[in-house]
C-alpha cells in the first residue's frame, strides 16, 4: 500500500504508535471489572478505552491520508509479523504492580510522542496530538499519583514497585528500538525527532518522579533493551491476543458486526 519511501516511513511511525496503543489498550481493558478497588477499576478502564481510541485515531489518519485499509481491517486482521508494537505492551496484565509500572513508563513516553507530533512538520499529525493532550495528561497524572503513593506506603508496596521497575525497564527501553532507514527519512523531513532524542527526553521526564518515589532507576547505559517489536518480532503472548481480538470478525470477515 505504501508508494514512496517517505510515505512508507510515515506509515511505519503511525503504525507502531497505533499498534502500541491498541495492544496496551486491550491489555489494560482486561482489568475492567477486576481492579483492586471499584474507583480505580473505573479510572483504569477509561484509560484503556482512551488508548484504543488513540489507536483508532492513528489508523484513521493512515486510512484517510496514506491509503491503509479501513481501521477495523487494519487493526484486527493483519498477520502477527506486520504488527509493530513493542514487547512491553504485549505481556499479560500480571499483577497490579506490573500493570501500573507499565502504564507509568509507557504513558510518559506516549505523552512525549504526542508533544513532538504537535510540532511535527507533517500537518496531518497535529490535530490529533492536540486533541489527545488532555487525555494523556490525565494518564500521566494518574500514574504519578499511584507511583508516589504506593512507594511511600510501606515496605511491601515499595519493594513491589521497585521490582516492577527493574523488570519493566529493559522492556521499556524496547519502546525506543530504532529502524534507521525509516527514522532517518522522518528526521530529515522534521516529521519526527527520532527515538534516541525521545528516549533522552523520557528519562528526563520520569527521573524526578522516580526520585520522589525513592525508586532506583536501573542504569540505562548498561541495560540491554528488549527489542524486536518494531521489526515485527514478538513475544509468545501477542499471537493468542490477536486471535482473540479477531475471533468474532474472522467468523465472517465480509459481514458487518
Amino acid at each position: 500500500m505504501q508508494t514512496n519511501p517517505l510515505q512508507q516511513a510515515i506509515t511505519y511511525l503511525l503504525t507502531k504508535m497505533a499498534d502500541d496503543a491498541l495492544i496496551l489498550g486491550h491489555r489494560n481493558s482486561e482489568w475492567t471489572g477486576l481492579g483492586p478497588i471499584m474507583e480505580e477499576d473505573i479510572a483504569f478502564s477509561s484509560m484503556a478505552q482512551d488508548k484504543i481510541g488513540h489507536a483508532l485515531g492513528l489508523y484513521s489518519i493512515l486510512h484517510e491520508t496514506y491509503h491503509a485499509p479501513d481501521p477495523d481491517q487494519y487493526a484486527f486482521l493483519r498477520e502477527e509479523k506486520d504488527y509493530l508494537c513493542c514487547h512491553l505492551v504485549e505481556l499479560p496484565i500480571g499483577e497490579y504492580d506490573f500493570s501500573l509500572m507499565r502504564h507509568f513508563l509507557f504513558d510518559h513516553a506516549d505523552a512525549l510522542r504526542y508533544e513532538f507530533m504537535e510540532k511535527s512538520s507533517l500537518e496531518a499529525l497535529r490535530p490529533l496530538s492536540k486533541k489527545l493532550k488532555g487525555e494523556i495528561k490525565y494518564h500521566t497524572l494518574h500514574a504519578n499519583a499511584w507511583l508516589t503513593q504506593l512507594c511511600s506506603a510501606g515496605d511491601e508496596s515499595y519493594a513491589r514497585m521497585q521490582s516492577a521497575l527493574d523488570y519493566c525497564f529493559p522492556l521499556a527501553l524496547g519502546m525506543f528500538e530504532r529502524r534507521e532507514e525509516m527514522e532517518d527519512r522522518l528526521m530529515d523531513e522534521k516529521i519526527y525527532p527520532g527515538e534516541e532524542q525521545l528516549k533522552e527526553a523520557w528519562l528526563e521526564r520520569i527521573y524526578p518522579i522516580l526520585v520522589k518515589s525513592s525508586l532506583n532507576l536501573p542504569d540505562p547505559v548498561n541495560t540491554s533493551p528488549i527489542n524486536g517489536g518494531r521489526h515485527g518480532y514478538h513475544t509468545q503472548h501477542l499471537q493468542p491476543l490477536l486471535n482473540e481480538m479477531s475471533a468474532v470478525f474472522r467468523l465472517d470477515p465480509t459481514a458487518k458486526w
Binding site: S29, P36, I37, A48, D72, L251
Partner: protein, 331 residues
C-alpha cells in the same frame, strides 16, 4: 444495571413483629405520612427498623448485581468485533462497575459499610441477580444481554427510581441515564446480527433461545407465589409487582424481537384481549436452584470476584490508614 423483583426476603413474622414493636408508633405515623405525601427519606431521618433492613438488602443486592454483571459481558471485551463495538462494550462494562460504586454508596448511607457488603457477596450470604449465573457463549449473547437484560433492568430501575429513599433515587437517576446508552448500543448490535448474514441470524436466534428463560426469571416469581409485604409497597421500597413489570417488559420488547423475524421459544407467548401477555410458566424450581448456588456459572463468578479482591488486597492495604475508620458517605 440490574435489580430484580424477587429479592425481598419474607421476614420471620415473629421477628418482624418484635422489631416493629420497637418502632416508636408516633414516629412511624409521621414517617408514613411523609412517604404518602411524596417526600423522600434522607439518611439521617428516623426510619422503621424493617424499612432500613429491607432497603439495605435491596440496594446492596442491586449493587452486587452490577459488579457481577460486569463478568459475563467482560468475557467478550478482548473479542468484541471492531473499534465501535469494542469501545462501547468496555464503556458499558465500566458503567456497571460505576453503578455498583454508586449503589454501594447509597447503601452505605444506611449504615452498612462497603467492606461488609463485599464480604457478604463473597461468602454467598448476600445474593445478586440470577441472570449473571448464565454463560455468555457467543458474541450474539452479548447483544442479547445488552438489549434485553438491560431493557428489563430499565423497567425495574425506572420503577425503583420513584421510591422513597433519597440516596437510592439519586443513584438511580444517573444509572437510568446511562442504561439508556446500554440499551441503545445493545439494540444496535442485536439489529446488526438480526439483519445480517444467515450465520449471524442463526447466532442471535440461538442466543435468544438460551436466554429467554433467564429473562423470564428476571422479574422474579409470579405475584401469586410471592407474599411480598404490603408494607414494602406502602413504604415505597417495592414499587411494582413482579408480574406487572414482566408484562411491561414483554409489551415493549417482544414486538421489537418479532419485527426482525426472530422467534421466542414459547408457543404460548401472546397478548390477550385485555392487553396482558400470556406465556408458559418458566421453571421456577430451576430459578431457586440457581439462586441457591447451583447455576452454570455461580462458582466461576464467585471465584473470579474472590481473585479480584485477593489480588487487589496489597494495593488497598498499603494505602490504608487509621483515619479510614468508620466513615460513611453523607448523602
Amino acid at each position: 444495571m440490574y435489580g430484580g423483583g424477587y429479592i425481598f426476603d419474607e421476614p420471620n413474622r415473629r421477628q418482624l413483629k418484635d422489631e416493629q414493636q420497637h418502632d416508636d408508633p408516633e414516629k412511624l405515623l409521621e414517617f408514613e405520612a411523609r412517604i404518602t405525601s411524596g417526600a423522600k427519606i434522607e439518611p439521617g431521618d428516623w426510619m422503621p427498623v424493617e424499612y432500613r433492613r429491607q432497603l439495605t438488602r435491596l440496594i446492596e443486592q442491586h449493587a452486587h448485581s452490577e459488579v457481577m454483571g460486569a463478568l459475563p459481558e467482560g468475557t467478550w471485551i478482548t473479542r468484541a468485533p471492531g473499534f465501535k463495538r469494542k469501545l462501547a462494550l468496555i464503556a458499558k462494562v465500566q458503567d456497571e462497575v460505576g453503578h455498583g460504586q454508586l449503589l454501594y454508596n447509597a447503601a452505605e448511607t444506611l449504615g452498612k459499610r462497603r467492606e461488609t457488603m463485599i464480604n457478604d457477596l463473597l461468602s454467598g450470604k448476600s445474593k445478586y441477580s440470577n441472570v449473571f449465573n448464565y454463560p455468555a457463549e457467543t458474541w450474539a449473547d452479548v447483544t442479547v444481554i445488552g438489549f434485553l437484560i438491560d431493557a428489563a433492568a430499565i423497567v425495574n430501575q425506572v420503577a425503583n427510581a420513584k421510591g422513597s429513599y433519597g440516596p437510592y433515587c439519586r443513584a438511580l437517576e444517573r444509572i437510568c441515564y446511562e442504561e439508556s446508552f446500554h440499551l441503545k448500543q445493545g439494540h444496535d448490535a442485536f439489529i446488526e446480527l438480526a439483519t445480517g448474514t444467515k450465520m449471524q441470524r442463526d447466532m442471535v436466534q440461538d442466543a435468544l433461545n438460551r436466554w429467554w428463560q433467564p429473562i423470564m426469571h428476571f422479574f422474579g416469581p409470579p405475584d401469586k407465589n410471592s407474599v411480598h409485604s404490603e408494607k414494602l409497597m406502602q413504604w415505597k421500597v417495592k414499587m411494582a409487582s413482579n408480574d406487572d413489570m414482566r408484562n411491561q417488559f414483554l409489551d415493549a420488547y417482544v414486538p421489537k424481537i418479532w419485527e426482525l423475524g426472530m422467534t421466542l421459544p414459547d408457543a404460548n407467548l401472546q397478548k390477550n384481549s385485555e392487553g396482558r401477555w400470556g406465556y408458559s410458566d418458566p421453571d421456577w424450581d430451576l430459578f431457586f436452584k440457581v439462586i441457591n448456588g447451583d447455576g452454570p456459572c455461580n462458582s466461576e463468578r464467585i471465584k473470579v470476584r474472590k481473585w479480584a479482591e485477593e489480588s487487589g488486597r496489597w494495593v488497598r492495604q498499603a494505602l490504608m490508614n487509621s483515619a479510614n475508620a468508620k466513615v460513611l458517605p453523607v448523602a
